[in-house]
């Protein structure tokens, strides 16, 4: 059974790129365009790994992580937060919210696959 990954990003171009990359490595991929949509999806199914952007309409990544961490099915799910912020501010917010790690944009497909492999062992 291949691992199931949730990708949350408001940019369709990035979502598609990430989806194609992960599918090429035979992961199952589910896409959400903002935190709210991701949360709705997560109410119905679990994931092996969640990769979320920070800054999104309707619900940002930080709020999503906080919400997910209150759900029993997502207490231990690795969640990586994407950030373009150079400072520690956003990272610390992610850490406080309960993220497993962070990844800076821009990234390329190889970087994405490398971190996914690490997270999923």
């Amino acid at each position: 059974m291949s691992k199931k990954i949730l990708i949350v990003d408001d940019s369709a171009a990035i979502r598609q790129m990430v989806e194609a990359t992960l599918k090429s490595a035979n992961y199952q991929v589910v896409l959400a365009k903002d935190g709210q949509e991701a949360l709705d999806i997560c109410k119905g199914q679990g994931f092996d790994f969640v990769l979320t952007d920070q800054n999104m309409p309707r619900m940002d990544g930080i709020t999503l992580i906080k919400s997910l961490r209150t759900m029993s099915a997502f207490m231990r799910t690795p969640i990586i937060v994407l950030t373009t912020e150079a400072g520690d501010d956003m990272k610390n917010q992610g850490k406080a919210a309960g993220a497993t790690g962070w990844m800076v944009k821009p990234f390329d497909p190889q970087k994405l696959l490398a971190i996914t492999a690490k997270v999923l062992g």
Binding site: M17, D48, K95, W102, V104, F107, Q110
Partner: protein, 710 residues
Amino acid sequence: MSINMAEFHQVFFEESHEHLESMEQLLLALDLDSPDPEELNTIFRAAHSIKGGSGIFGFTALTSVTHVMENLLDKTRKGNFELNSSVIDLLLRTVDTLSHILNLYREEEPIDWQEVEFSKNQLVAALNGESFSTASASSGAAVVASQGDVESAVTSKTAVETPPESNTDEGFGFFKDDVELALATESDGYGFFDEAYIAKEITVDDLHPKGSESAVTKADAELSDDELGFGFFESLTPEAEDTPLVDDISQSAAEASVKANGNDDQPTATTNTTSTTRTTAPKTQTAEVEANKTDGVKVVTATTTKTDVPVKTPAAAKKAAPPSSDSTLRVETSKIDSLVNLAGELVITQSMLTLIGNELGGEVGERLKTALNELERNTREMQEAVMSVRMLPVSFVFNRFHRLVRDLSDQLGKNVNLVIEGGNTEIDKGMIEKLVDPLTHLVRNSLDHGIEKPEKRIAAGKPEMGTLSLKASQRGGSIVIAVHDDGGGLNRDRILQKARENGMAISDNLPDKQVWQLIFAAGFSTAAEVTDVSGRGVGMDVVRKNIEALGGRIDIDSVTGQGATFEIQLPLTLAIVDGMSVSTGNQIYILPLVHIIESIQPQRDQLKFLANEQLIKVREEYLPLLNLHELMEIDSHAQTPEEGIVVLLESNNKRFGLCVDGLVGQQQVVIKSLEKHYRRIPGVSGATIMGDGSVALILDVESLALHVNN
């Protein structure tokens, strides 16, 4: 593993254009005195999204500009940076620059790095509270301060230079509480907060609150320390180790150049500023937007005078969120076009069947007729449905003008209030694109020549603020777009004087309507002084040509001292025309209904010859007559006009009669272009296939009018 990034570029371009458009709209509508935090956030997020995407896809020029823009917007949104009208202007210019860069990438043209640098430096200057130019970035006179950064950003694609920051190609990792290590990963652009991924002694259970064990995912169960083997980067593929990341390098180059102190050199040559002296005193600007969702009326007020007291109104214009990807689907226009074409063919086939069906009698014939009627209804509905896919609200064009009116009225020192009505009137996408230029010209014209300066308006007893309105509506089978201003109207005497200077012989008692039409002559301009905006004597003729190319016409209505209205009438779609089919000899021709005034059977006493030209007298007016069979060089059944029918036609600048043998009937016809197969024929705009399979030419009334002597 190879992912072709190029396939996602198109999506990125479209997304970014949408972001830029919404940024522009929001910036224009922003209330400077109490900006809505939600709107500021949306503007920030638009810049942020473009930056994120452009970084991933390697569009470094976009990344570097949006990076600084994002900084400025972030400060703004956090209340650490004071917005004023000149900063808004700068941000709007930045949007223009980004739009330009985006197009260069889309067209795969070389990037103008000077423009990029200039735009960036302007933003940096604004961020540092220094003065920045009011010129557009395209002036090309910008002094590029950090040429070296540009070089490295350019060359990083090919040659690998040592990046200014210790960037590796990792871009992710595990956070540690150990400060030193955390800093080490910092520059690698990744980290883990969770020590389970790093420290071997700590188990997963220690890191999480005791939760329901049953819900723990399989992944967690597999996260045994041995398997993870996380130190630093040793588990990365050699490939990833050795391949330097263009993105990272150029990103850091971009960031380094951002850190370089922006210069505030004022460019000397500018493209978009007036030659007239501009007031440099600080101006108050208020932008109020009131939107009424029900009737699509938008009022944007841009006041640009010092004396004006800003009126505060709640900004009620919340642009409807773009439909989510669930409910919309992006489709190539060409696919829709082929559907439109097929639906048209279907209509033709269906009318052929109807003709054949009419020849069948008896019970079968009856049943066939019923079925054919059903088919006709279905094909019509299908055609309409397919057409509606190509329709867009005209607000796509109208909304561009908020910006134009704001910038131009500022430049001209005028107070102008733009009113938009009927923005949700739908119009064919192909037309929307072709309407932008003529409408832009008309709006510029109204601002420049129509609406007077405040002092002149006050002297004339008018409100100081002029009103420019753009209205769209559907009238029968056509779309009407009106550009109205409450300025001084057209100057009859000046137009006549100018026309005579241009060598036209014109009588003094020419009716107003025909005087106004004179301004559409090539090279006609009545501007007393040539301004930057208009008055170079080009344009109105081009406007008319563009409108006519769309199968439309333009009328002018003007009252001296009260303003002018330019009214454009357009067919609903470019694919179907409401026509009158007429016969001459053995041929059928189609005349677009929009040009037909009436059809008459002329009496002998109505016909006159004057200097070898045939005229027809209709209600005390003599109109020139044209013979269709002569123009088409075929034989006709009617030897004289009174044996046939005269169709009175109205083109943009004249009325005339067209002699034909008879009228066949009124029908909607599907327009087929002839130019794919033949060269353009004067007098003919296209062709259609009739129900019996024969081809009928669609006549171009505007070019027929050229045969009429003045």
